[in-house]
Symmetry: C2
Subunit: 342 residues, 2 copies
DNA sequence: GGAATGCATGGAATCGATTACATCGACGTG
DNA sequence: CACGTCGATGTAATCGATTCCATGCATTCC
C-alpha cells in the first residue's frame, strides 16, 4: 500500500508538502497541489489512519459499551449513535457487555488501549474501578440510559416517572388492584428507578407493592419467565405484571402461554421500552416508549462536545405511555396509536 | 498517560527490555522482569495499541460491514461474530450499511483506512469497485450471508433450498395453490436465490409463479407492506405470501391487519429468517431458520485463517423449516417446536 | 536599493511501540 | 589460557504520518 513517501516521490515534492495538501493547509502553490493530487489519484493513496492517530493523538473514534446488543432497545440506540457520530466525522466501536461486568471491563480496556477519543457507556453494574479511573483520568465519557451515581460524568437518559404514573392510572382505571413488577438488576440505575417509580405511582392510588410482587430479574428474557412463574404460583397471583424491560416482558409472555393462560384475560402485561414487535405480539403489548433515537443522538453530541473541549451537558428526555391491548380494554380513543410507526 | 519510556525509566532499564518483558521474549533476566512488571503496575501502564499497530502492521481488528443492524438476523450474526473474534483475540468494528451501497462504501473505506486485518461483508449490492479492489488488493476478506459472484473470496452462508422445498410441501399439503413471494433486491444473491428456490419448489408440484405474484421488496418492512397491499388488490389475490426476510414479513402482517383481515384465515404468511419474536406474533409465524450463530462463528474462523496465512474455506450450512400457525392448521405433530429456544 | 515581509517548501524531530544489531560479561572447552 | 558461545541488555532504525523551524525567493515599502 502506497505511503506518503511514495506520493511525495511521484509528485516530486517533500512529504511535508503532501501532508499540507492533504490537510489543506493554505501555504501550498497551486502547481504543487495539482501535482500532489494527481499522484494521490495515480497511486490510489489513502492516508494511514493508524500513523495519523499516533502523531495527532486523536483517533476520531468513539467507543460505545452497551449492556446487551440483542435487546432491540439497545440495538436502536447503537444505530442512532453511529449515525450521529458519522455525521460529526467520528467512527464508533461497539462493545457488547451482555450484562456481564467482566465483559464490560474487557471492552472498556480494549477501547482505552486503542486510544478512542471518547467513551459512551450504559453501565451494567455499579462501576468497576477501571471505569471509575477512566472517568477521573480524563477520558471524555458520557453515560447513556444507565449511569453510575457519584461520578462526575454527563448522563443522557429518559425519565419514565411520569409515564409510569400514566401506566398505573391506566391500570387502576381498568380495575386492576394487585400489580406486580419484574425488576431489573439492583446494580443498575434503571433497575432501581423503575421499581421506585412504580411504587410511588401505586402509592398515589393507595396501593401497596408487597415484597412478593417484586420479582428480581436481570433484563434477560429467561428471568422474566422465571419471575412470572413465581407470580403465577402465588396463592394470590397479581392481576398485572409490569416488566422493567422488553426482553423480560417476552419471557413473561412465554410463561403465561406455557400455562395455557391468556393475556389480558387471565393476567395483564405491560413493559418498559417499546419496540416495534410489540405491535404484532399476541396481544399487542402496552409499553412505555423512550425517545431512543433522540437519546443516542444527544449522547453523541454531549460526548463530542467533551472531546472537542466544550462543556457537554446532561440531558433528560421524557418517556411516554403507549396503550395497546395487553392490559385489557382496547384503546377505543385513538386506533392510530396501534399502528407501527416503523 | 504513561508510555513505555516512563516504564523503562521507572524500572531502570531500556525500552527494549520493557518491550521484551511485555511480549514475553525469552531473553530477559528474572530480576529485570520483576522490576519492569512492578513499574508497569505502579504506573498503570497499558501499551498504546495505535503505536504497536503502526510498527507491527497489524491491528488485531476485523471489520464487519452488515446490511442492516436493525434486522434481528443481522444483529444476531454480529453478536456471534464479535464473540468468536474475541475468543480468537480480535476486536470487531461494525459498520451498518442500512442496505445502502454508498454507506457500505463509506464503511469499507474507513475500515481500510484504519488498516483492519480482515473484512467480513454481507454485500448490499453487486459490488462497488472499491470492494472489488480491496478483495483483489490482498485485504483478507470473507463474505457472509450474501456474496458477490465472480470474486475469489470465501463465502459463508446457509443454503435454504431444501427448507424452501419443505415449506412449499407444507403449504401444498394445506391445500394452498396460489403462492406469492415478496422478493429481496435483485442485486443481492439472497434476494435472487430465494425467489429461484421458491419457483423451483413450486414447479415440483406443477405450480406456476406468475409475475403478478412476485413483488419486489428491499428487505425492509415498508416494502413488505407495500407489496402485500398490491397482492391484496389483485383480482385474484394469493392464498399465501412468502416474505424473503423477517422485516418484510412484519410489513406484510401490518398490511393484512390494516385491511381488517386475519392470518391465516384470510391469507397465509411465511418468512425467511426465523427470529425469536415470531413465536409471539399473532399468529406465530412459520419461518425458515438459518443457523445464524454458526454462520457468524464459521465466518470469523475463515477470515482469521486468511489473516494468519492459512487457506480459509467457504462454508455452506443448511437452513430448516420451523412450522407455526401462520399458514393454517396448527402443527399437531410436535408442540415443542413452538417454544422459543431463547 | 536595501531591509522587511510573506509565501512556498524542505529537513528533521516526533508520536510509542518493535526489533535488528552491537556490546559485554560469564562460562565452557580444548 | 585463549577463544567461541550464549544470554542479557542497550542503541538506534523503523513504521507513516504531522508540524516546527530554517531557507530561499519574490514582493513591498521607505
Amino acid at each position: 500500500m502506497a505511503s506518503i513517501k511514495d506520493v511525495a516521490a511521484a509528485a516530486g515534492v517533500s512529504v511535508a508538502t503532501v501532508s499540507r495538501v492533504l490537510n489543506d493547509h493554505p501555504s501550498v502553490s497551486a502547481a504543487a497541489r495539482t501535482r500532489v493530487l494527481a499522484a494521490v489519484r495515480d497511486l490510489d493513496y489513502r492516508p494511514n489512519a493508524v500513523a495519523r492517530s499516533l502523531r495527532t493523538d486523536q483517533t476520531r473514534t468513539l467507543g460505545l459499551v452497551i449492556s446487551d446488543v440483542m435487546n432491540p432497545y439497545f440495538t436502536e440506540l447503537a444505530r442512532s449513535v453511529e449515525e450521529e457520530a458519522r455525521a460529526l466525522g467520528y467512527s464508533v466501536i461497539i462493545g457488547n457487555a451482555d450484562e456481564r461486568p467482566d465483559l464490560q471491563d474487557h471492552h472498556v480496556r480494549t477501547l482505552l488501549d486503542r486510544r478512542i477519543d471518547g467513551l459512551l457507556v450504559s453501565p451494567t453494574d455499579g462501576g468497576s474501578p477501571l471505569m471509575l479511573d477512566a472517568a477521573r483520568g480524563g477520558t471524555p465519557m458520557v453515560f447513556v440510559d444507565r449511569w453510575i451515581p457519584g461520578v462526575d460524568v454527563p448522563v443522557v437518559r429518559s425519565d419514565g416517572r411520569a409515564a409510569v404514573r400514566d401506566l398505573v392510572a391506566h391500570l387502576h382505571g381498568l380495575g386492576h388492584r394487585r400489580l406486580a413488577i419484574i425488576a431489573g438488576p439492583a446494580a443498575t440505575t434503571t433497575g432501581r428507578e423503575r421499581v421506585d417509580a412504580f411504587r410511588e405511582a401505586l402509592a398515589l392510588y393507595g396501593l401497596d407493592l408487597p415484597g412478593a410482587y417484586v420479582g428480581q430479574g436481570d433484563f434477560q428474557a429467561e428471568s422474566g419467565r422465571r419471575v412470572t412463574e413465581g407470580f403465577l404460583d402465588l396463592p394470590e397471583p397479581p392481576e398485572v405484571v409490569f416488566a422493567a424491560d422488553n426482553l423480560m416482558a417476552l419471557g413473561a409472555l412465554d410463561a403465561v402461554r406455557a400455562r395455557g393462560l391468556r393475556v389480558p384475560r387471565d393476567i395483564a402485561l405491560a413493559a418498559f421500552d417499546d419496540i416495534r414487535w410489540f405491535v404484532h405480539t399476541d396481544p399487542p403489548v402496552t409499553a412505555i416508549a423512550q425517545p431512543t433515537g433522540e437519546l443516542g443522538r444527544a449522547a453523541v453530541r454531549a460526548l463530542v462536545d467533551r472531546v472537542e473541549g466544550r462543556p457537554g451537558a446532561s440531558v433528560t428526555l421524557p418517556a411516554r405511555l403507549v396503550v395497546r391491548r395487553s392490559c385489557g380494554a382496547p384503546p377505543a380513543e385513538n386506533p392510530a396509536k396501534n399502528r407501527s410507526t416503523s
